[in-house]
Amino acid sequence: MKLWLPPFLWLTALLAITTGLPLMEPVFAAWGKPALVYPRESLLLLLKNHLALVLLSGLLAAAVSIAAGIAVTRPWGRDFLPLASRVASIGQTFPPVAVLALAVPAIGFGDGPTLVALFLFGLLPILRNTLAGLDGIDRTITQAATAMGMSPGQVLLRVELPLARRVILAGVRTAVTINIATAAIGSTIGARTLGDPIVAGLVNGNTAYVLQGAVLVGLLALTVESLFEALERQASRSTPCAASA
């Protein structure tokens, strides 16, 4: 139970500020500072949209790159293993902002290109960690599993993936952390995210907007990060100690 307390607390703070700030507007007005809260969209909607973009791109990226990671570590796909790890490591040197910016001439403005950029950028850390996790397993363990009469599918599902789970999860965590930050920048290419108040505030010199957006994006990142932290602890509790990474 103690494990899940930090994410719960961050989430409470995040939701309290998101829903509470607009309600405070009359108080601010009485104080002599009207229009302190970002007016163009409700903060809750921006939060939902931000989270949806990150989750959708994260899930798609995880599905594709874990599948690719499994494929290139099978005997029939091994020829492509150096290529895959090369693409993953070169791709990670591309700055997220540049990928985001390049999505615009290719696809246009809005939520769509942001989703595509987040998906592409999420692929690399997950692929890299899937490869590290699966390729780092001691050969004798898989050989032992085969010798016990397991089929290749069983070896993958019951030996390799459980052993690589922590490393893969760490890759998903990296991808999601980067994508929360990149989605915020996505508001410069027309995605509706919590970056909107920040960008609008920077353009108009309105520090109050900047602060709202920044606090909320920060809280969102901390919530998700502490959630992953708890998940990783949970996973390490239930993983047999043979995990190799």
Binding site: L83, P95, I189, V217
Partner: protein, 396 residues
């Protein structure tokens, strides 16, 4: 180890088929009457004409054939053909420009299409695959890079590539480009240097007092979690308050926006990768070596400078590599708080819907990151102590 000789290079075969497919389906370039109007996309057949597009396909088919056949020195030949093909890409652009540029319109420009990028990317991947299989991969890599650069330099000097939209965007603002480059380098390299010094100090501190390890790493990874845009934003209010209370800070250029919040945020982000690698590198030197040093009568200071640091160097350099790449990317975001750098072009271009300006900001940022990657990889290899006795390599 598998002893089976692979007859077919399935990677090159697959990639060359993909390249043929993309070459014929993606737009090769676009023709624009001026800067803002979206261009008309033109495919390979119409854009390059029968001769050039068939010749390109023929080269790709030759690659496919060589990938399927097994003969002596195959990967050497493949690398040669691929280097030549990459070096010849400016020729294709030249052919496209001469066929499509409207010389009566001074504002007319040619945009580089997804077909060209796909071709460059796939040829590059194939080249890295074949170079890997050469007996002397390092020399091969040098030769290939030199060949490609020579080809491009020749192309830039011989052909009239001024009509390319990217070149036109550059020619409007050469001084601004140089300033952006300078600001970008100063911000990212400055942040890397500061964080290197701080990280080495923190690592030494944490090594002496192990009870500090948890709080120091806790704070540093907390900073890394905060999204960049948020951290830049959060720094604005306190910094503008500071500079309005202490006017002498303003004279130093420390304001709510500008280079000050950017530099602080960049250093904050750089601390985690730098500290993690420095700490791991300094603490995982083998015990025998430390004992040997102590046995020789070295003082703790000598042990640090003559044993630990040299052995830790490759892993520290790896930390510098990761940090520099990250800082180059984040500096682009810092343009939003007025810090300058290539991000200025990206966000200006997005604001004006001028995609070529976006490219003029995004491409140099990517090139800088790739260059830093290559530079520090080579430096890490050169600085690793002979005999490989030191620290086991640690990736990010």
């Amino acid at each position: 180890m598998r002893l089976r000789r692979i007859a077919v290079n399935r990677v090159v075969a697959g990639l060359s088929l993909l390249a043929i497919g993309l070459f014929w389906t993606l737009h090769f370039g676009s023709v624009q009457p001026n800067r803002i109007v979206p261009g008309t996309a033109v495919g390979a057949w119409e854009g390059l004409g029968a001769k050039a597009s068939l010749a390109t396909t023929a080269v790709l088919l030759v690659l496919l054939g060589m990938a399927l056949l097994n003969f002596r020195g195959r990967h050497g030949w493949l690398s040669g053909v691929l280097t030549g093909a990459l070096a010849a890409v400016p020729l294709l652009l030249h052919v496209f420009i001469t066929r499509h540029l409207d010389h009566t319109n001074a504002y007319a420009r040619i945009g580089v299409g997804p077909g060209v990028w796909a071709l460059l990317f796939l040829l590059g991947l194939m080249l890295s695959e074949t170079l890997r299989q050469l007996p002397r991969a390092r020399i091969g890599r040098l030769l290939a890079v030199a060949g490609i650069l020579c080809g491009w330099a020749y192309g830039a000097s011989q052909y009239d590539l001024h009509a390319l939209s990217l070149v036109q965007e550059y020619r409007v603002r050469p001084e601004q480009f140089v300033t952006a480059l300078r600001h970008h380098l100063m911000l990212s390299l400055g942040a890397v240097l500061i964080s290197l010094v701080v990280a080495i100090g923190l690592a030494l501190l944490v090594m002496r007092r192990s009870s500090w390890q948890r709080p120091v790493f806790g704070v540093v990874s907390f900073l890394q979690t905060i999204p960049s845009l948020a951290l830049f934003g959060l720094l604005i209010a306190p910094l503008s308050l500071l500079s309005s209370t202490f006017p002498w800070l303003q004279e130093l250029g420390i304001r709510g926006i500008g280079w000050a919040p950017a530099m602080i945020a960049l250093v904050a982000y750089s601390l985690l990768p730098m500290l993690r690698n420095t700490f791991v590198a300094l603490t995982s030197v083998a015990d025998e070596l430390l004992e040997a040093g102590a046995g020789m009568g070295m003082s703790p200071r000598q042990m640090l400078l003559q044993v630990r640091l040299p052995l830790a160097m490759p892993v520290i350099i790896e930390g510098v590599r990761v940090t520099t790449i990250q800082a180059i990317g984040l500096t682009a975001v810092a343009a939003l708080v007025g810090a300058g750098g290539f991000g200025t072009f990206i966000f200006q271009g997005l604001g004006q819907a001028a995609m070529d300006l976006v490219l003029l900001g995004a491409l140099p940022t990517i090139v800088l990151a790739l260059f830093a990657d290559a530079l520090f990889t080579v430096m890490g290899k050169l600085l690793s102590p002979a005999g490989d006795v030191g620290v086991a390599g640690m990736s990010q």
